[in-house]
Amino acid sequence: MQRMDMSLQEVAAMYELECTIGLEVHAELKTATKIFCGCKNEFGAEPNTHVCPVCLGLPGALPRLNSKVCDFAVKMGHALGCEINPVSRMDRKNYFYPDLPKAYQISQSDIPLCGRGRLDIIVDGDIRTVGITRIHIEEDAGKLIHDDDFAGTLCDYNRCGVPLIEIVTEPDLHSSREAYVFLENIRSILRYIDISDCKMQEGSIRCDVNVSVHEKGTPLGERCELKNVNSFSAAVRGIEYEIKRQKDIISSGCMVERETRRWDDKKGISTVMRSKENLQDYRFFPEPDLGAIVLEHERIERLRDEIPELPNKKMIRYVIEHGMNCDEAFVIADSPDKAKLYDECVALSICKPRSAANRILGDVTKFMNDTGRSIADTPLTAEALSELCKAAEDGVISSTGAKRVFIELVTKGGDTAEIIERLGLAQNSDEGFLNEIAEKVISDNEKSVSDYIGGKSNALGYLVGQAMKLSKGRADPAKLKSILENKLKKEN
């Protein structure tokens, strides 16, 4: 009845709904061994071949925390500007599931390794700050396999005990687009600081999404948690679906209930896993089999020193200081390889930053995509690449010549000038270059061309002179002359 008294504006305002998103990103760490035992941390092995009494949860077996896991988590903490807790501890999260051998996950609840931090990202040209609530370490669960030959479920515990970090954000994201960009940035950083492979298809990075839709200017409403989100694009689809679902509920005058929902990316829908009444009670308590994790100040600082400039910062720098557009900046900044190469070229200042960027966006990116190799595995150096860019800038070599030199550098390495010389790519003999010049001269000097065709053979001398001028005197005049002659014949 109240609704009838509302003005039209009030009704409209009621429907001005805002959505708030928080993420919990799980990333598998690329340590040599699992988090609590010496078993290999390796994807794709025969089922249950990387297991031992500890990770199988056999009676009497005890965990031992992998030191590297702490280092990696602290590095990520530094990367996201988190407070690092010099003393933290592990807790047990209790629930029953066939992929969880001990029926509890050893995780961190009260005192995680890393506390509050933040990440600045560029979304459609604007800088956004996303608050980080915490980063903690925990163990992954096993894998359940459904096999056509077997009516039940098969449990493979190779993944069980693989170390994870869980990055929890504040509810600071407001669209699926922002969530996507945030996730991309997180992935970039994980690769940059070299602590995770982030192989989506191997499930090494996954996320849970919390979505809440509420009226603008009112407190946050009930949130729904979306589980089973296995790719970034699935996160986008899941979020959009959830926003629409909640908006529909609110517009129909109902309340959104707190739920845990499962995202089915194939069907593009989410379904209720747990409703408000039976939300999980994990009964967290301190893990009595482990002591306190104590990290000395020096260790924490040493790890801080190991953090390079991160891709989100680089991106902002490339856009603001180097005048790249966001896409260009992302392509370079996202890849530690490319960014390193670019930054080194800029530091050498042999060539213009722009030409280095273009070469990296073009030839380097193509090479990496085609071969799947990283630049670090090739003999290509920033110096050689800069010399190449410089040669192209100065017109010493043609663009086709430059591509050939690049391939040579990236496959065999060597000195740029020497390669240009050896392959005869210097403009004075490089056919491509001479052709380019000849064509330009022909198109620029219509009058002389028609004179020549009309029989005035001395017009050729004029054209050759123009071409020599264009090549800054480097071209071989005889070769140039014959190329021009040939072209002019064709014009005829």
């Binding site: 009676p59 009497g60 009670d281 009964r283 089999d289 002591g291």
Partner: protein
């Protein structure tokens, strides 16, 4: 004197001087154990590889040279300590057929020291109980009088040692499970400092309290056994570095012994009180200085103990879900159903009660009121112990309020729990404690004197216990 009645150190000397062979010794002790089995039910499984181990020991002795310290000595192992290839049941239907693929560190150390593992001893299911009567393999009877329980939960180990069915035994002590049965059976039971013996392979009941303890017929024997299992082990991060053993000298001269009045309260029976006080007086005559001390949190400690131990147990025992090992119920259509049915059918009532209690105290809304307060009380109790140990070297106390527990006596679980008042404080404090016989009750059952030492003061504590023994302490004084 029969071989099986001799102490470990006597036997060690006899073996070395070839007065007997390990094989003869094993036959004698195993024969005794089997003879007692129908009466005491001390064992769940006898080790059919024991003979081989004894033969190996004889070969080592024949070779001469460096003979390992426990070479050829028959030792019983509580059935919650993993023995590779030898069934380890925790006296539960849940693990009735479980054969560990690895051995506990303590067992590996025993084997490396040449010990012959005679078998696995009976106990309360998953070590939860005070009378060794909650297990799936029947109760353990007291060798002194089979109308009485051997105590628990290491009842089988204590009964076997006291009756001659083992020379030494390993037990486990979470809230008194080595000390209490040792006192009921008239044996010496030693619960070392938390972390002094690796827990790796000890099937967990309550991880922050569980310890592997040694049971023998005298302090020197217990010292000998503890010495072997007290070794560094990286597999247990809660383990503390090895304390190098000293030769026991047994002098009580000038030792300050604190008597906390809270552990001699009205619920301690008169005969237990007077037996323990007589023991204290005996130590005084041997040169010790007796002081009255205070442990104000003693009675709250029992509450804290049951909260913490049950909480940890509820989580530790969650892994028994029928997936990887242990009992699995038939005809289940979903994993959830399989978990529920397997656990319901595989666990006995006492285990279920503790799991329920532990689940309850950790559940949403209860954690702060139960678990957190218990953890805080534990801290406070540790402080009280610290205070006592600034002015005392040891604490003397009873082990249990009564001399023995009658079989079949109906007792409410809560009452049975409350009776652990004398043993749980040192359990929560992680302190070493030993039970030594100090007389008999009117019913003929032995009574135990408990001595509690400083954390990591295991050697000093055993030395004091030895001093009491030298001063004439024991069952029949």
């Amino acid at each position: 004197m029969k071989l099986y009645e001799k102490s470990a150190y006597e036997i060690a000397a006899m073996l070395r001087s070839r007065k007997c062979s390990a094989k003869e010794l094993l036959h004698d002790v195993m024969g005794r154990a089997r003879e007692l089995q129908p009466r005491l039910n001390a064992y769940i499984t006898f080790n059919d590889q024991a003979e081989n181990a004894a033969e190996n020991a004889d070969r080592l002795i024949a070779k001469g040279g460096d003979i390992p310290p426990l070479c050829g000595i028959p030792i019983a192992v509580k059935d919650n300590i993993s023995t590779k290839g030898l069934r380890t049941t925790c006296a539960s239907k849940m693990l009735e057929n479980y054969i560990p693929p690895y051995s506990a560190t303590a067992v590996e150390l025993l084997e490396a020291a040449g010990a012959v593992i005679i078998g696995k001893t009976n106990m309360d299911e998953f070590a939860m109980g005070s009378a060794s009567d909650t297990g799936a393999f029947g109760a353990v009877y007291n060798p002194a009088d089979t109308a009485y329980s051997a105590g628990g939960s290491s009842g089988g180990s204590a009964a076997a040692v006291a009756g001659g069915g083992a020379v030494l035994a390993l037990g486990s002590d979470t809230g008194g499970s080595v000390r209490q049965p040792a006192s009921f059976c008239g044996a010496v039971g030693f619960c070392p400092s938390y972390g002094a013996v690796s827990r790796f392979g000890l099937i967990a009941f309550a991880s922050s309290l569980d310890r592997i303890g040694s049971i023998g017929r005298n302090v020197r024997d217990v010292h000998m056994l503890h010495n072997i299992i007290n070794a560094s082990d990286i597999k247990d991060v809660t383990h503390i570095p090895k304390k190098f053993s000293k030769t026991l000298c047994g002098s009580l001269k000038g030792m300050r012994i604190g008597v906390p009045k809270e552990l001699f309260d009205e619920y301690i029976s008169d005969e237990v009180k007077s037996a323990v006080m007589n023991a204290v007086k005996l130590m005084e005559r041997a040169g010790a200085i007796i002081k009255e001390v205070f442990l104000p949190s003693a009675s709250a400690a029992v509450k804290a103990y049951y909260i913490i131990s049950s909480a940890e147990a509820s989580s530790n025992l969650a892994r028994y879900d029928g997936v990887r090992y242990g009992f699995r119920a038939d005809n289940c259509t979903t994993p959830a159903e399989m978990f529920r049915k397997s656990r319901t059918e595989g666990f006995g009532d006492e285990v279920k009660r503790r799991i329920l209690l532990g689940t309850f105290v950790l559940s949403e809304g209860c954690f702060d009121r139960y678990y957190k307060r218990a953890a805080a009380l534990r801290q406070k109790l540790c402080g009280e112990f610290d205070d006592i140990f600034t002015e005392c070297d040891f604490i003397a106390a009873p082990v249990y309020p009564n001399a023995g527990i009658l079989h079949g006596a109906e007792r409410k679980p809560a009452e049975l729990y409350a009776a652990d008042i004398c043993t749980v404080p040192s359990s929560l404090g992680g302190l070493p404690a030993v039970s030594i016989p100090c007389g008999r009750a009117g019913n003929g059952l032995p009574i135990g004197l408990q001595l509690i030492g400083r954390r990591c003061g295991d050697e000093e504590l055993l030395d004091a216990a030895y001093g009491y023994e030298l001063a004439g302490g024991g069952c029949d004084v």
